[in-house]
Amino acid sequence: MISRRDFLQATAAASALTIGSGLGPLGRAAAQQRLTQADILRFDPLGTVTILYVADTHAQLMPLHFREPSVNLGVGEVKGMPPHLTDAEFRSYFKIAAGSADAFALTADDFISLAKNYGRMGGMDRIATLIGAVRAERGDDKVLLLDGGDSWQGSWTSLQTKAQDMVDVMSSLKLDAMVGHWEFTYGAERVKQIADSAPFAFLAQNIRDNEWQEPVFEARKMFERGGATIAVIGQALPRTAVANPRWMFPNWEFGIREDDIQKQVDEARAAGASIVVLLSHNGFDVDRKLAGRVKGLDVILTAHTHDAMPGLIKVGNTVLVATGSHGKFVSRLDIEVKDKQVADIRFKLMPVFADAIKPDPAMTALVEKVRAPFAKDLAREIGKTDSLLYRRGNFNGTFDDLICNAMMSERDAEIVLSPGFRWGGTLIPGDAITWEQITNATAITYPNCYRNQMTGIQIKEVLEDVADNIFHPDPYFQGGGDMVRMGGMGYAIDISKPMGSRISGMTHLGSGKPIEASKTYTVSGWASINENTQGPPIWDVVAAHVAKVSTVRIEPNTAVKVTGA
């Protein structure tokens, strides 16, 4: 139970105002103004230590659109709490004006018109500019740069180079340490190879060899910055072996390992750390629970659930940072240390508006170089879209509808399943659909699009299992991303019910008839976690479909009825 005392404080809802990130109850006219690079960087410095934090960039080197979710439901104790707020509720909580640059960056409604006004976000050369400016202001010896993971996967170039493009880029940014999740889908050998040779630390206190229980990676690293000792403890996604193919790292065990985090904290303090940071790919709700149970963490840098919040969330004496995804934001934390303890923290979520920030020329050149071998493929135009194509949302996204439509037609299936991944860019109406856009939504190391037979009861069991991974009231029992996307089938879900009784009203959309428990249906899907899955890679399936329809138009999807929220 989260008590009132532990209640989440949007410290920055107040402090960000004073820092002047452009947040605040501005008038509509002022709200429409774009931010300048100086606005984005403006910060009243504090203390002697600065932590810069990015996460879940999903290998996006170039600026892009990424629409935040309009449906992001919390269950149990976190129902209605940030980050489970969207649109008007989110803006009201964090005091963001509708139509402002921050509203565009952080919420979903009015996305199309705001996208036209504010332009794309992210881009490694813009991120490099922000990082360089903060380092210049504070001095290299005061700044620590951390990456919360999911940085090596999500683009065609990262897939083709087995993450070498991202390793080169992050090394060039002088990254200090990172953790992992999708990184592991390059296989144990490749990840170890990079971890052993990269100039940054690859940390994971919670991965063990499953025979001897020996640590696979360094658990934590101590850094000296601004006269203070900072301990950074790494936490990989605890559910990697459940959420992704275990056969790719068959000898590794994960898990939360709360007691071991506590040991790391205690050892770090004993070794003289003034600041203890958990660099975590747990996901926000897991970290919020963990913050109330592990003692002595000053900061948890959260990731995995892609939440972007312009304020710190406080649980006891621990602050949680949610820095968003796809390179849209860089978080800055200034920390003041007194008597070997954290005395004060000041925070800003810096939005990376690509049009406002002058690209760093060296990084522009590096990005061009790593993309060059694939540039022709990436630019290849397959079709265009008349609809907004986005990914995020608990139950469906229009880009997933496109993928589902592609599987229905190209694989001649009655019902299709597409994983509830949270990554992949957003396209606005009129945009070309290039090979880059298709692979930004599909580039994984287990892409085969299978086709098989399933009974109604099996489909229900899949839905129930996935739903429990998202809506189990205890975050430690949650595992997945968003709900699996369905094509050709509708259903109702009561998210407040227990496992096994959330799903009802399953309907075969082709015939309008109820799904029958014992009847067999032809089903297609992709991203199977099983080894030797047969079928063409999903990007070829999507590209073939887009080429045929030429102009994509996605009708509103009303196939999922949600209650209990």
């Binding site: 459940v242 065990e253 069991e461 029992f477």
Partner: protein
Amino acid sequence: MVLKSVEKTRRETLAMAAIAGLAAILAPRLSLADEQAVAVEIKKLYGDKKFESGKIKLDVPEIAENGLVVPVNVDIESPMTDADYVKSVHVFAEGNPLPAVVSYRFTPACGKASASTRMRLAETQNIVCIAEMSNGKLHMAKANVKVTIGGCGG
């Protein structure tokens, strides 16, 4: 070590059928996790004696990474002296056709009362651990282990 024996775990069956593109053969659904069967077993051992909480650290994963080999660690708080020690520890799985999974007996010479094993769990269920102390006191701890088909992790 006593391993649970079922033909195929639910995770495997579902994952195979649902995700992998193999022929769909639905294994017979296991009976629902049976709290009652565990209660019957415990009654056989200790009659109607009362159980206290505490003393037992039952360490199981919240979510099994591999239902075939779920690590179970038990650690009982005790000085393990001649006057005060843990006599025996029993572990039950509510979803197991034979719910008594493993029993350990200890003597003061053991030094500490801890044990590790791996269990095969076909579906989400509770693991129950009871410890009998040399003074006759009984302790109980329970933990839920989720067995899921996985995938879709975003």
